[in-house]
């Protein structure tokens, strides 16, 4: 079980880094002369703000969306770990901790879906 979780975390990080790096290299090949605008805060465009928007951007071939997809995979890695723990506690018949873990999972999913306090 522990080895599986370790593998899941490592796999998530490696996949995310690979996708992010690929997006970054592609970005420089595509538009190397565009200067980052980070000194003034404008906020990212809508297409880079949500899971759906990022996926659409990747399908349309935007390099920035591909980088963002890599970051989304990274954010999803600990969430997948929590989801896996729900399963592990259920198999162990530990009902209290299944509920506790589900609460954590629900909050994480709601946050990623755009729900805010």
């Amino acid at each position: 079980m522990d080895r599986l979780i370790g593998g899941l975390l490592r796999g998530g990080v490696i996949l995310s880094s690979a996708v992010t790096l690929a997006g970054g290299v592609w970005r420089f090949l595509q538009a190397g002369s565009v200067m980052p605008h980070d000194r003034v805060f404008l906020g990212e465009p809508a297409g880079l703000r949500s899971v759906g928007g990022v996926l659409r951007g990747v399908a349309e071939g935007h390099s920035e969306s591909l980088i963002q997809l890599g970051l989304l995979i990274l954010i999803a890695t600990p969430i997948a770990r929590v989801a896996f723990s729900v399963y592990a506690f259920a198999v162990a018949g530990d009902r209290t901790y299944v509920i506790i873990t589900l609460i954590v999972l629900a909050a994480l999913a709601a946050s990623l879906a755009g729900w805010q306090l």
Partner: protein, 282 residues
């Protein structure tokens, strides 16, 4: 300061600084994330909100990277971690919600204070002493007691003051969501000092929780447009590469001097952040 670089130079400079932060952070156990935000704002002149987004994503990367190694060693307590994550996740959501309503100057000052606390914690000497007292009844009901490997074999430990730990964890989560850091040092305080869990168990369990806490706020920051792919890409990759390198060197290297040096760097950046915040330059 580094604002005159071209786009490729800018990205490479970010990569190098992030790798150095990750390397020193993992070598000293402080975590590279704590210095990312001040480095990006003070050195590169990046807006604090973008810097916070980048720092948050780096915290997830280092936490997951390190946890994949720790999880097999049998130190981290998954029950305690999962129970306390309820507090940190909701704390993080509250902190992230608050972040958009607080001025960047105030955020800078709070970050400076948290950095000072991290630097102070790293200078402390820790001994694992398990006082053989009985556990909090709540801990017994939640079956939190565990055992951890020591030189003398597996050693059981009791868990104290669960409610106090839970409340402190909500605070740690809120700070994490507000400032985009893992706030590992605050989590360690809650577990080590309040709940009296052995230090090694506290640090590894805290590391396991950082990724989940940061993922909760990352969703909010993403939706708010604080996560800029061009900026986060070099920072995340740099911190990850640096911290993996640091973890490799860790065995054998004498880290005592390095700890002091890094604590001094963190302390210096903390003061700079507070000064910049008070002067309204963030």
């Amino acid at each position: 300061m580094l604002g005159t670089l071209g786009p490729l130079g800018f990205t490479l400079a970010l990569l190098v600084v992030a790798a150095l932060a990750g390397f020193l952070g993992s070598l000293t156990g402080l975590g590279g994330g704590v210095v990312i935000t001040p480095a990006l704002t003070l050195l590169f002149g990046i807006d604090l909100r973008y810097a916070i987004g980048a720092s948050l994503v780096s915290a997830i990367a280092t936490s997951s990277g390190a946890a994949s190694a720790y999880v097999r060693e049998g130190y981290s307590n998954v029950r305690i971690g999962m129970f306390l994550e309820v507090a940190t996740v909701f704390g993080a959501l509250a902190g992230a919600a608050l972040a958009s309503r607080v001025s960047t100057s105030v955020l800078g000052v709070i970050l400076g204070l948290v950095l000072l606390q991290s630097a102070w914690l790293s200078g402390q000497h820790h001994e694992d002493k398990v006082e053989a007292t009985s556990s909090d009844p709540l801990a017994v009901r939640l079956r939190m007691d565990g055992e951890y490997p020591t030189a003398q074999g597996m050693r059981p430990y009791p868990v104290q003051r669960v409610k106090a730990g839970f409340a402190l964890m909500f605070g740690a989560g809120a700070i994490s969501g507000l400032l985009g850091i893992g706030s590992g040092s605050l989590k360690v305080i809650a577990m080590d000092r309040a709940m009296r869990i052995p230090f090694k168990v506290s640090t590894t369990t805290s590391n396991f929780m950082i990724g989940v806490t940061a993922a909760a706020s990352a969703g909010v920051y993403l939706n708010r447009g604080y996560i800029d792919p061009q900026l986060v890409m070099p920072v995340m990759l740099g911190v990850l590469a640096g911290s993996l390198g640091g973890a490799r060197v860790l065995t054998g290297a004498s880290t005592k001097v390095l700890r002091w040096v890094f604590a001094a760097v963190v302390g210096f950046m903390a003061v700079q952040m507070i000064v910049a915040g008070v002067r309204g330059k963030l």
